[in-house]
């Protein structure tokens, strides 16, 4: 139905602009812009959706020109915007933090922590800051080659294992 799509679209769009600025640290008066655009507004049930994403201080350009990390942060903003409108009871995020610098991992984990109040998040990661944000850690390893084994681990175990493996 047109109305349901429109309402969902507007709600996601609202979140998108706000979350984008949180993730890109857009401060008051110095914000970035992020918006979803209906390519064919006259035909909402068929229209494709385009994305405008302009980091704070930069000029609007095609999103293809954004950096690897900026694209990832924009995608994270969009995914969580949809999530806010229609929360899943759980989500599995496999190495979302891979292209992010330390400051961006920090912002990403902040959002994760807030959202994890009402949903379960399972995150696969190599990143220490993401590990610190987790309440529970499972370590996967292959003491017998080719056979996975899972153990509950502490953050300190991870350091030890990483050092040994290094």
């Amino acid at each position: 139905t047109v109305r349901l799509f429109r309402e969902t679209f507007e709600a996601v769009n609202m979140n998108f602009g706000l979350l984008f600025n949180r993730l890109f640290s857009g401060r008051q008066g110095q914000e970035g812009t992020a918006e979803l655009i209906l390519l064919d507004p006259a035909n909402p049930l068929e229209s494709g959706v385009d994305i405008i994403a302009r980091p704070p201080g930069k000029k609007p350009q095609s999103i293809s020109l954004l950096s690897g990390g900026e694209k990832a942060m924009t995608a994270i903003a969009l995914l969580f915007s949809v999530f806010l409108v229609r929360p899943s009871p759980f989500a599995v995020l496999d190495e979302l933090d891979a292209p992010l610098d330390e400051a961006n991992v920090e912002r990403y984990t902040q959002i994760l922590k807030e959202f994890s109040q009402r949903s379960q998040f399972i995150v696969m990661t190599h990143n220490k800051r993401t590990m610190e944000a987790a309440e529970t850690l499972y370590g996967v390893s292959m003491p017998e080659k080719g056979v996975s084994r899972i153990l509950g681990v502490q953050l300190t175990d991870v350091d030890t294992v990483a050092e040994a493996a290094g």
């Binding site: 229609r86 379960q120 309440e135 529970t136 017998e144 996975s148």
Partner: protein, 165 residues
């Protein structure tokens, strides 16, 4: 908390029955390259009904059955069971726990299980659709795929909004 635990047996790199409990909040899965982290994510997608072998990094669905190692022989089937908390009746069933299972034999024979009872794939799909877990592509993000929403065609991005509507 909705997800309680997953049991993986014979799926990809998990020949030995493995049980992972899912607490509330954020659960981190860590370990070296190739140790099996993404395989857990694949197991979750598979038991929830994923039909495309390619999207599970295989060429045919049989590829998800433990293929053996230099020291161990292959197994004859893969099975995954995912148990949900149901005290708040997210599923319209009279159980406090609901367990969805899937098994695949090398012959191609496969079965779906609801609280260990055989059922059809359709029953699982309907159950998930009603519960709000459904076919929610944005709830399980595969490794390396996060940028795809940015580089996707306008029609594909539309699907993301439609699913939320």
């Amino acid at each position: 908390m909705v997800l309680k635990r997953i049991e993986i047996f014979g799926f990809k790199s998990f020949p030995d029955k493995t049980v992972v409990e899912f607490p509330s909040g954020i659960t981190g899965i860590v370990g070296p390259n190739g140790s099996g982290k993404s395989n857990i994510s694949d197991a979750i997608r598979w038991v929830l009904g994923e039909q495309s072998a390619k999207s599970l990094r295989g060429e045919k669905m049989e590829d998800v059955i433990f293929a053996g190692t230099a020291k161990r022989p292959p197994l004859g089937f893969a099975e995954v069971n995912l148990t949900f908390e149901n005290t708040r009746r997210i599923f319209p069933l009279e159980f406090s726990e609901v367990s969805i299972g899937r098994r695949l034999y090398r012959s191609g024979e496969s079965s779906y299980l609801l609280n260990k009872q055989e059922c059809r794939l359709r029953d699982i799909q309907d159950l998930l659709m009603d519960s709000g877990i459904g076919k929610r592509t944005h709830a399980i993000i595969e490794q390396g795929k996060v940028e795809e929403i940015i580089t996707a065609k306008p029609e594909q991005r539309r699907l993301l909004i439609e699913e939320a509507a």
